[in-house]
């Protein structure tokens, strides 16, 4: 329960950063998708039932601040979560570069699922070409954000909680990599 609350708080901070802080810092429409990074992290470290439900709810809440299609982000983020869960047993998750790689793959999957859902079900036109043009910038921003977050979280843990481990964090710490 407390872990769920932590995830919800993290999602709240991500939303505030994306809606208010990044538009001022980055001076444009582009911003890193921190919620997607959180979903990839959840996919790596939470069990399917609990994580899936949480991600779907987060996606629905995300619709309140992103886009105008109820259920779109729920579908897309849930899809990204399932994709990460699907490969967790097949790869070595005890590696920090994996998180970065999965963030890139998650961004690409998000683009495909979102463009598909918008193109087939809504009244948008030329959505594939528009989104394709934006994809490289989004990939770069998400990668940089994941890299910074990874280093920041590890530094915070080493500095303030050296004897404790945050859920799943140990696996991402390069000190434990062989």
């Amino acid at each position: 329960m407390s872990r769920t609350l932590i995830y919800l708080a993290m999602a709240g901070v991500a939303v505030v950063l994306q809606t208010v802080v990044f538009p001022v810092l980055l001076q444009g429409y582009y911003k890193p998708d921190l919620l997607l990074i959180l979903v990839v992290y959840l996919g790596l470290h939470e069990e399917s039932r609990r994580g899936g439900l949480l991600v779907y709810l987060l996606g629905w809440a995300y619709d309140g601040v992103a886009g105008g299609y109820p259920g779109l982000n729920g579908f897309v983020l849930f899809g990204v979560f399932l994709a990460v869960r699907g490969i967790v047993s097949r790869v070595n998750t005890e590696s920090s570069p994996l998180l970065l790689l999965l963030v890139l793959a998650g961004t690409a999957l998000q683009f495909v699922m979102m463009a598909f859902a918008l193109d087939f079900f809504s009244q948008t036109t030329q959505i594939w070409s528009q989104m394709t043009w934006q994809l490289p910038v989004q990939l770069m921003l998400n990668f940089i954000a994941a890299l910074i977050l990874l280093r920041l979280v590890l530094w915070l843990q080493r500095t303030f909680m050296p004897r404790k481990t945050l859920p799943g964090l140990r696996k991402l710490d390069s000190r434990y990599e062989s």
Partner: protein, 272 residues
């Protein structure tokens, strides 16, 4: 069979759940123009935080920008820096007030030309995602803002309200891919539909025979039932007339600078 089911159960179950999520999304598209319970809650919760943070960030950005500027003059001498800092602080402050006054005066003049009742609002946040173009304003259903109302500034059309909670609303910008505005050319009255393309617009369904020139002004036609007639949308940026086909390919530069939206007007009564 049982063995196969047991082996592929997670994959099948995941696929079914994903399909359910997709179907649920498509079903919800019918209620796309209404604010659902969860969106209402999210707007209510995030609105005050965004509003407070927006105010704080703008203040900090002003101070920081001012401070950075003054670092360059540190080489001269301490006295000049102090004097310069004080003067610039006053100047920045008065410039900010003057610019705000200019913006508000333009908005007020524009407001007075409108026959429809208007409500001024502040933009407090942008869309959380890079894929969409929406902004959050600090007025909601308590002030009479409901879904579908047009939002404008003195320069032209901004968008329409798509979500509304008691104190905050979300506005879909005309540059969003799902936005379409019934429009016409101010000079020759050629009709078409302006669709959002992220940072610019395309003017669709303008017949090949129509004479369209770069720089022509595009205004709302009032046909869509959302925007009143005659509001400026933008200027023609490029025209491609193919040898075949019914329509021309026209790109439009929006009249409004969406990256610097601060104050907007909500037109409280829709034209129809």
């Amino acid at each position: 069979m049982w063995e196969w089911w047991r082996k592929n159960k997670p994959l099948l179950l995941g696929g079914v759940l994903l399909l359910v999520a997709l179907l649920w999304y498509s079903v919800n598209l019918r209620q796309q123009d209404e604010t659902n319970f969860l969106e209402n809650v999210v707007l209510r919760v995030t609105g005050p935080i965004q509003s407070g943070l927006d105010e704080m960030i703008n203040g900090t950005a002003d101070t920081w920008g001012h401070y950075l500027y003054l670092i360059d003059t540190a080489e001269d001498n301490r006295q000049l820096i102090d004097e310069n800092r004080t003067l610039r602080a006053v100047l920045t402050e008065s410039d900010e007030v003057r610019l705000e006054n200019e913006r508000l005066r333009r908005l007020l003049e524009f407001k007075e030309t409108q026959e429809i009742a208007t409500l001024p609002a502040l933009v407090i946040a942008e869309d959380a995602s890079s894929w969409f173009r929406t902004v959050t304003i600090d007025k909601g259903s308590d002030q009479g803002v409901t879904e579908g109302l047009p939002v404008v500034v003195a320069e032209g059309v901004v968008g329409r309200v798509v979500r509304s909670s008691p104190r905050y609303s979300r506005v879909l910008l005309i540059t969003d891919a799902s936005s379409a505005v019934a429009s016409l050319l101010q000079d020759n009255r050629a009709r078409g539909v302006c669709r959002g393309q992220g940072e610019q617009l395309v003017f669709d369904f303008v017949l090949r025979l129509e004479d369209v020139k770069i720089g022509d002004r595009v205004v709302t036609s009032g046909m869509g039932g959302i925007f009143p007639k005659g509001l400026v949308i933008g200027q023609i940026k490029s025209v491609v007339r193919q040898e075949f086909g019914l329509f021309q390919e026209i790109k439009v530069d929006p009249a409004v600078d969406f990256s610097h939206l601060e104050e907007v007007l909500v037109l409280l009564r829709s034209p129809q």
